[in-house]
């Protein structure tokens, strides 16, 4: 063809399918993408610098604003890391409550991820609203216990902030009752829909070796078939005495990642049911000294967030504030393969691949 200069297109900060202020500069030749450049940093609040001037307890609200779609799992990760550093032992009831809320947050975040992926593939937000029906119920449960739907700030060092009210448990029970067949309803709506398959099958294929080398984690890694889940590999919050499975994908395309998230929601429902059955009685929080001063040292603690391995690297110098707090952003690191995946494919494919990797810009920019 004639050698004209490539066609610069800015999938800019304000775009319906970039899940937040995230910009991709794409240079295209016709419909094929020649070069892709990610521009990040629109939501950079330098959380790590701020956390150095606040005490350990005051940093908890930061964590649920890092990944605003999975606030509970962020809080869980941070509190577990600090408890391990200051060797505080939370009561048994708090650990089980934490598991319940982390898994509920995983269901809500996966509903959001799959819903936006489908509306990126073009369906007029119908599946998104079906999935939001469940997400609304879960957010009501959160509001009932800790007053906030999105930035929950529910967990404390040494336990959980509040005891869930009496009507929390019956509501949770009938939510768990109806959730599995709601998932089957989405599966019938989407997983056998020819157009959705045509749009997501063989799109953005990541083979397992590249996935591991590019330090992908979470559904993106399991989509390529790598059986790695931190809840099983490095059981925190005694996940090892719940039995649940880890769903895997076949070839690592967007369709597999979508299905992995769908099945993970079913597994989370199983976990919550078991947690509810043996919810021990007792205090929901132990007493910790107001001026918590863990002894000097460093710790890298990892939990399995909805988007991947959510790590907290804490260095303490014995003072009331962490000397250095680094949050390992699974969304940012999952994007290290986006450039190879997008080059050579067309624009709609790149958008679907980005949607299937499921990023949250708050976590990328911190």
């Amino acid at each position: 063809m004639t050698v004209q200069e490539n066609y610069e297109l800015n999938i800019g900060p304000q775009h319906p399918s970039t899940h937040g202020v995230f910009r991709i500069k794409v240079s295209m030749n016709g419909e094929t993408i020649e070069d892709l450049d990610m521009i990040v940093g629109y939501l950079h609040r330098s959380m790590e610098k701020l956390s150095e001037e606040r005490t350990y307890t005051q940093n908890i609200p930061f964590t649920d604003r890092a990944d605003y779609l999975a606030a509970m799992s962020n809080n869980l990760g941070y509190c577990l890391a600090i408890e391990k550093l200051a060797n505080v032992i939370p009561p048994q009831r708090a650990t089980v409550l934490r598991v319940i809320f982390a898994e509920l947050q995983r269901i809500a975040s996966h509903a959001m991820a799959n819903g936006t992926l489908v509306s990126d593939a073009g369906a007029w937000q119908t599946p998104l609203l079906y999935m939001f029906r469940e997400r609304e119920k879960i957010l009501d449960l959160f509001e009932m216990t800790c007053g906030a739907r999105l930035t929950t700030n529910y967990m404390r060092i040494g336990g959980v902030a509040f005891e869930p009210p009496a009507e929390f448990y019956p509501l949770l029970n009938d939510l768990l009752g109806e959730l599995p067949d709601k998932i089957d309803e989405y599966m019938d709506l989407l997983s056998t829909n020819e157009i959705f398959i045509a749009r997501t099958k063989n799109v953005g294929i990541i083979n397992p070796k590249d996935a591991i080398n590019a330090s992908l984690s979470g559904p993106a890694l399991r989509g390529s078939g790598v059986p790695w889940d931190l809840r099983k590999a490095d059981p925190y919050c005694d996940y090892d005495n719940y039995d649940f499975d880890v769903p895997l994908g076949l070839i690592g395309d967007s369709y597999d990642r979508f299905m992995v998230r769908m099945f993970e929601v079913k597994e989370s429902v199983k976990i919550i049911k078991q947690a509810l059955n043996n919810l021990p009685l007792g205090m929901h929080k132990t007493q910790i000294p107001l001026a918590l001063r863990p002894e000097p040292g460093q710790l890298y603690f990892r939990t399995e967030g909805p988007r991947g391995e959510l790590g907290y690297f804490v260095v303490s110098d014995g003072g009331p504030a962490p000397y250095r707090l680094h949050i390992r952003p699974p969304s940012l690191i999952n994007l290290s393969l986006l450039k190879q995946l997008a080059i050579g494919s067309s624009l709609p494919d790149a958008i679907v691949t980005l949607g299937s990797i499921d990023i949250v810009v708050g976590e990328i920019d911190r």
Binding site: P16, G122, I212, S346, P348
Partner: protein
């Protein structure tokens, strides 16, 4: 008392229901007069003929007809956007507009007023002439195409004997206008959107022409009214006789008017709004209105060509025929809304492959089959019931062709039966993975 209060929302709906029934009853009683609206234009013609020359009389009576159609299109644009938003809302388990007016009926008017008072932005580098002409020029073909549509027995505005060709020519006029709309706003997204639309529309005109050709062959005329009369005289719906043409026509014209599942032009998630991205205010309103008008026009075309226009098994003697015609059009329009609410979007090259590798060859085969059948029907003047035999053969062949074609081209690379989840036997990296692979 609380019992009555709990019924308040239902009483409101009850009242509206009674109103509708009452309206229908009055309409039915009055309908003896409203049976055939062409009486009024003829009356105007006779009145004017002795006042002045033939041309003036002809012109003024045709004005009455034009007024009727334009008012119907206006009504469709207003009610249509309300119906569409409510229907999609019902699909998405939400309520849809119900604030403005009872049941939100005034919402379209509110939208129109909002759009009108919005400031019209013109990009500095835009080509002013084309930028201003495009939204107006895109509306002309949408209204021109309503002329040959048969509303009732002799209620066709323009009863020309090249009806189908006229519609085809007018709809092919929109392609350059859409391109000028996209190109003149000098915006990368708009240019990409307009190039996509032009490529898609050009490549979907061929399947449409082939499917219309098979309709013309079997009925022998291009005039839409005569097609409807042929269907009623042979008492078979063309949609049943040649199902593949109905499918091709319906699918390709969704591509032609940019509705899901082929709304590539203004694919929100990719190029934000395609060719009408730079238009604001009433210009953008015009583009959306045209899309709505085209959807209902598609409904009217499908009813008159394939679903036997204003006949409904003898019902047209009791109810005014154009009411049946409008009912069928609205039914097709609701199918379009249903498609829009549920289906995701094709990628551009999948769409092109589907048109060139599937629609065109299969509709050529279908075209030959129907040519053979028409020669049998017309020359051997066999019994009347052979048409039903042909209908059954055609439906069987239609289903067979689609399955055959998808097997040949392996278009469905992935057999979509339910997927059983694969669970990890042991947790680990590559070695653990080899374990799971060999097991299943």
């Amino acid at each position: 008392m609380s019992l009555i209060f709990s019924f308040i929302p239902y009483i409101k709906r009850l009242i509206v229901l009674i109103l509708i029934l009452f309206g229908l009853a009055v309409g039915f009683i009055l309908s003896k007069a409203l049976f055939d609206l062409s009486i009024y234009s003829n009356a105007v013609f006779d009145f004017m003929i002795d006042k002045s020359s033939y041309n003036v009389a002809y012109f003024s009576s045709s004005l009455i007809g034009a007024l009727g159609i334009i008012s119907f299109i206006g009504l469709v644009l207003l009610v249509g956007s309300w119906v569409e938003r409510r229907m999609i809302a019902k699909f998405q388990i939400r309520v849809g507009p119900n604030r403005v007016g009872i049941f939100g009926l005034l919402q379209p008017i509110a939208d129109a007023i909002k759009l009108m008072q919005k400031e019209v932005l013109v990009p500095a580098v835009a080509d002013k002439l084309l930028f201003f002409i495009a939204p107006v020029a895109i509306f002309i073909p949408a209204i021109l195409a309503w002329a040959p549509i048969p509303w009732g027995p002799n209620m066709t505005y323009l009863n020309i004997n090249i009806g189908i060709l006229y519609i085809f020519a007018v709809s092919s006029l929109t392609v350059p206008i859409i391109f000028f709309a996209g190109w003149s706003s000098m915006n990368h997204y708009a240019l990409l959107g307009s190039m996509r639309t032009v490529a898609m529309m050009v490549s979907y005109e061929i399947p449409i022409s082939l499917s219309l050709l098979s309709v013309v062959i079997i009925t022998g005329t291009l005039n839409l009214t005569e097609i409807v009369l042929w269907q009623s005289s042979n008492s078979i719906w063309l949609g049943l006789l040649i199902p593949f043409s109905l499918f091709t026509f319906f699918f390709s014209s969704t591509a032609e008017i940019n509705r899901t599942p082929n709304d590539i032009a203004e694919a929100e998630s990719e190029i934000v709004a395609g060719y009408h991205i730079e238009y604001s205010g009433m210009k953008a309103g015009l583009f959306m209105a045209v899309e709505l008008g085209n959807a209902v026009l598609l409904g009217a075309l499908v009813t008159s060509l394939f679903l036997n226009g204003w006949f409904l098994f003898g019902l047209e003697n009791y109810i005014p025929p154009y009411i049946i015609f409008i009912a069928k059009t609205v039914a097709i329009y609701i199918v379009l809304i249903w498609l829009r609410a549920t289906l995701p979007r094709f990628r551009l090259d999948q769409l092109m492959n589907f048109a060139w590798k599937m629609l065109i060859p299969v509709s050529i085969i279908n075209f030959f089959m129907i040519a053979i059948e028409t020669t049998i029907i017309t020359n051997l003047d066999s019994s009347k019931y052979i048409i039903y035999l042909f209908a059954i053969i055609n439906i069987a062949v239609f289903v067979g062709l689609i399955i055959l074609w998808s097997k040949i081209f392996k278009i469905d690379k992935f057999s979509p039966e339910k997927i059983a989840p694969i669970f990890a036997q042991k947790i680990g990296g590559i070695k653990a993975m080899e374990g799971t692979k060999s097991v299943d």
